[in-house]
Amino acid sequence: MSAGQVLQLIFSGLTTGSIYSLIALAAVLTYASTGVLNLALGEFVAWGALAAVSAQSAGLPLWACAAAACAACAVLGVAVERAAVRPVAGAPPLVPIITTLGASISLRGLALIVWGTHPYALPPFTGGGPLLVGGAALPRQGVWVMAAAALVFVLLAAFFKFTRAGMALRACMLSRTGARLVGISPYTALTWAFAGSGVLGALAGVTVAPLTLATYDMGFILGIKGLVAAIAGGMHSAGGAVLGGLALGLLEAFAAGTISSGLKDAIALSALIALLLVKPQGIFGTSSRKM
């Protein structure tokens, strides 16, 4: 394989990986602060992308479309939280998984009713052809995706470390009883975490749609792979989520480019299962559990 080919695969892997990282970051945001794994995350991505498409056909400029999509998905996130998560908040962790899965199925059906099976396109953020580096092509939107992932990572890390709300969420993660004792309400944490993951999902959708086109069912696979990336990174660490996402993207790209394109999903999934069996806490997770 030539250097140009390898570079192409690296670009492809980093672009796809950044998409997964964005979604993984949203998953970590929810899980780390509330202990709930949100399987409806992929649908936030799809709804964000499709809402932006609708906003665009209504004539709004691109930044307004993105804002509208984020706002819509924040509302959607809270709706999912109220309908599917809060009523079963105290149940064993398996139960919110089933309810959020049910919610994701309903959301997919609703997206199908509203937007149909038709794929939609969003214009890229900046025009112009792809960047040619060393014999490999990198679409400009790919750079935007990577930038978005990096930005969200930095913001999220800063949020958790420096802001009061962030610290409150971290407190919930460490000990809910303790958090309650100092006046932090876990219910508020739940709402904010879901609203936040809605915004992040929408952002992922809007950034990704110019590259991958928006369809009603784009959320499912992306959601699963984002969760895989988050688990691989250990569900508590934003850095782990990013690295997990990039690793997954690169693994897929190289599997498709060198072994077989048909088996790339199989390879990624097998890697996940192997990882879960060997180190269930993920690459960066710690063995100590929160209480």
Binding site: G35, L37, A83, A84, R86, P87, V88, A89, G90, A91, P92, P93, L94, V95, I97, I98, T99, L101, G102, A103, S104, I105, S106, L107, R108, G109, L110, L112, I113, S175, R176, T177, A179, R180, S185, P186, Y187, F220, I224, L227, V228, I231, G262, L263, D265, A266, L269, S270, L272, I273, L276, L277, P280, R289, K290, M291
Partner: protein, 333 residues
């Protein structure tokens, strides 16, 4: 004693209900009921796994597919007599479950969900890839008709009798399992694995056996499906079907008739929607069905787990409310 008094009360109306389509139904109604019976068999296995043993499997349709493809490949590619191929159908998924089960069942909760989901997707991928054996995405057609002791099963009525016979036998077996010491041990594992372990129950081996049992039942259902439709392809055994099976198991609950009720509800619902949906929302159909499935899953799960119901109906600890969540006593992984 109570058992003796119970079952005739339910058996008579059940027998009547089942005889009705046989006498007066046309091939369409018989066809719907055959589909219900086939899915009830698979749902029964999943119900034992989910409701009794407390595990979960979001890739169960893969086992149905393994059974269906096993029967089809044996009958078409290797010329096995159809009945023998059907009998062999549960073996492949049972084997797969045995191999995969022990490591996978060590995982809890969402890791288990993800692992079973991944497994289901992997098997679906294999169906698509192994073109030489499975015919790839275009599927395998030309599955020969079932012959029972020289008598060819070709009409709907005959299939109806076969599939419902199998379904009733399976339901009876599951019911007996529930009431046996093994069933009680499984309930104990569902309640608390640590406590069950402490009582000397071999939880790992028990969970594995249940997993294999449920996979075998799904495989049997898959085999019946293959002979009924005479054509298998990867698409009826994907994630959508796994979700349908989970929905059927959740809807049916742990009642003896649960799997049939769950399967009937889901399949009748889709037939009903075929007729009703375009009246309410012009042009709607599959979309409504998907939304209804998802919403039903959410509502039923909340109903079963919500603290209010738990406190009103019984003192089972499964009905925790918000207080426990706020106190942070969710079970560690």
């Amino acid at each position: 004693m109570r058992c003796l008094k119970e079952w005739p009360v339910k058996a008579v109306p059940a027998a009547v209900l089942l005889a009705v389509p046989l006498v007066w139904g046309n091939n369409y109604i018989l066809g719907v009921m055959v589909t219900v019976a086939i899915f009830a068999v698979a749902a029964a296995g999943l119900s034992v796994l989910m409701n009794l043993a407390g595990q979960v499997s979001f890739g169960h349709a893969a086992f149905m597919g393994l059974g269906g493809y096993a029967a089809a490949v044996l009958a078409v590619n290797y010329g096995w007599p159809p009945l023998l191929a059907l009998a062999a159908a549960p073996l492949l998924p049972a084997l797969a479950a045995g191999l995969v089960g022990r490591p996978v069942l060590k995982l809890r909760e969402f890791y288990l969900v993800l692992a079973t989901l991944a497994f289901g997707t992997l098997v679906h991928l294999l169906f698509n890839e192994c073109r030489a054996v499975t015919g790839g995405p275009s599927g395998l057609s030309g599955i020969p008709a079932l012959k029972v002791f020289g008598f060819v099963l070709s009409s709907e009525r005959e299939f109806y009798c076969l599939t419902w016979g199998v379904a009733l036998a399976v339901l009876a077996a599951c019911r007996n399992l529930r009431r046996s010491p093994v069933g009680r041990a499984l309930s104990a594992v569902h309640e608390s694995e640590e406590a069950a372990d402490a009582c000397g129950i071999d939880t790992a081996s028990l969970k594995l056996k249940t997993f294999v049992f449920s996979a075998a039942l799904a495989g049997l259902a898959g085999g019946l499906y293959a002979f009924y439709i005479s054509f298998v392809s990867p698409s009826p055994f994907g994630f959508h079907a796994s979700v349908q099976l989970v929905l059927m198991a959740v809807l049916g609950g742990s009642a003896a008739w649960g799997p049939v009720a769950g399967a009937a509800a889901v399949i009748f619902l889709s037939e009903f929607l075929r007729w009703a949906a375009p009246l309410v929302l012009p042009g709607a159909g599959a979309e409504c069905q998907i939304v209804v499935y998802g919403t039903a899953l959410v509502i039923i799960t909340i109903w079963k787990n919500s603290g209010v119901w738990g406190r009103v109906l019984c003192r089972l600890p499964a009905g925790k409310g918000g207080k426990e969540y706020a106190a942070g006593s969710a079970r560690p992984l």
